[in-house]
Subunit: 184 residues, 2 copies
DNA sequence: CCAACCATGTAAGCGGTTACATGATTGG
DNA sequence: CCAATCATGTAACCGCTTACATGGTTGG
């Protein structure tokens, strides 16, 4: 569990409301960490209670219920402590591989379409990442912060490239079987 | 959720006990799907109740409590149905990237050691995968089933290779900073 | 005016993790 | 004999997902 820390990191980058955080988690940070608004509001409540963050009504003359959250020194401290903890890389949990393995043991189930669809999805994500790369990082002098963010983005790019390449190889195999009618 | 289906796939490959499943999930299948023995026993119970599998006391003369599980036709049916469902690839959930991002916004926290450690772990996994590749797949005529299993293994290999390469790049960056003493 | 979006929540359920527990068999 | 491994469970907790709910603001 580290959602609170992910939220504080995001808040340090820029203070904002829970709603804004939820939207941000659909974008940049959300590429490697997801969270629903329900989770976010709950965690914000807990974190405020713990004294890690504080909130203030947004400067909109009380028109909305919007609250802006800000990280407090104890939160910073905690984030710093947490960031230095070691964590093993998670092993992937890929449902599709289980399906593939089921197809291997139960005979042809027609997973070609699914392979195509998934390759399309990976291509799309790759495109999205490449667009961010083009917009924010290529052909610029990068600060230390930007350099690190670029490193993270590159991890995503490499991952998607790998997934696309793998999908293509898998498709080649399945299509060859389809062409010659091999069943086992 | 698809642990029951992962278990049935494993049982179709070879009927065995819950304990054996737990060990197998620490190996081949476990490279892309993990489960603790507690989960496994609970799911086996549910699946038997649902009529997807059945169990019989092991053929050891009642020496142990060991029970061998076997997939029944309804379980096969269900697995076939499930295997054809589409699933989007999961987006990675990488705690370490959150930490990196925290390091980006809070200044140097000394994540180099952690990067080295993680690179070592990825190298180890890669080695393990390569050993399996060598032992089970290279220089052999592969059946349809083996070909698919090899495809899955290759996905793991590519993933680890990518992770190692990325770690090296990240380390280069951090070491360059350390060498010239850049702080921001 | 109405739809879309902003903004924040509650409640139920489930899968996964952690801790705890038991007893039998095997090997040194 | 003792430790490790085999083998199977129970109980509590927690984060995440899904469904449901509310009310205000903005723009066409």
């Amino acid at each position: 569990m580290s959602l609170p820390h992910a939220l504080m990191t995001s808040l340090l980058e820029k203070s904002c409301s829970g709603y804004d955080l939820a939207r941000r988690f659909g974008k940049s940070i959300g590429y490697f960490w997801q969270a629903s608004h329900q989770q976010i509001y709950r965690e914000l409540g807990r974190m405020e209670e713990a004294g890690w963050i504080r909130s203030a009504a947004a400067d909109d003359g009380g028109k909305t219920r919007k609250r802006i959250y800000e990280v407090l020194p104890p939160g910073c401290e905690e984030l710093r402590r947490w960031a230095q903890e070691p964590v093993d890389p998670p092993n992937l949990r890929e449902e599709f591989f289980v399906r593939l393995r089921a197809e291997a043991v139960m005979g042809p189930l027609g997973l070609e379409h699914e392979l195509e669809r998934r390759m399309g999805l990976h291509s799309l994500r790759l495109q999205a990442y490449r667009a961010i790369e083009q917009r924010d990082f290529l052909g610029k002098e990068l600060s230390r912060e930007a350099t690190i963010q670029y490193l993270i983005l590159k991890a995503g790019i490499m991952q998607q490239e790998g997934a696309v390449a793998w999908s293509q190889e898998a498709l080649r195999v399945f299509r060859a079987w389809a062409a010659i009618g091999v069943l086992g």
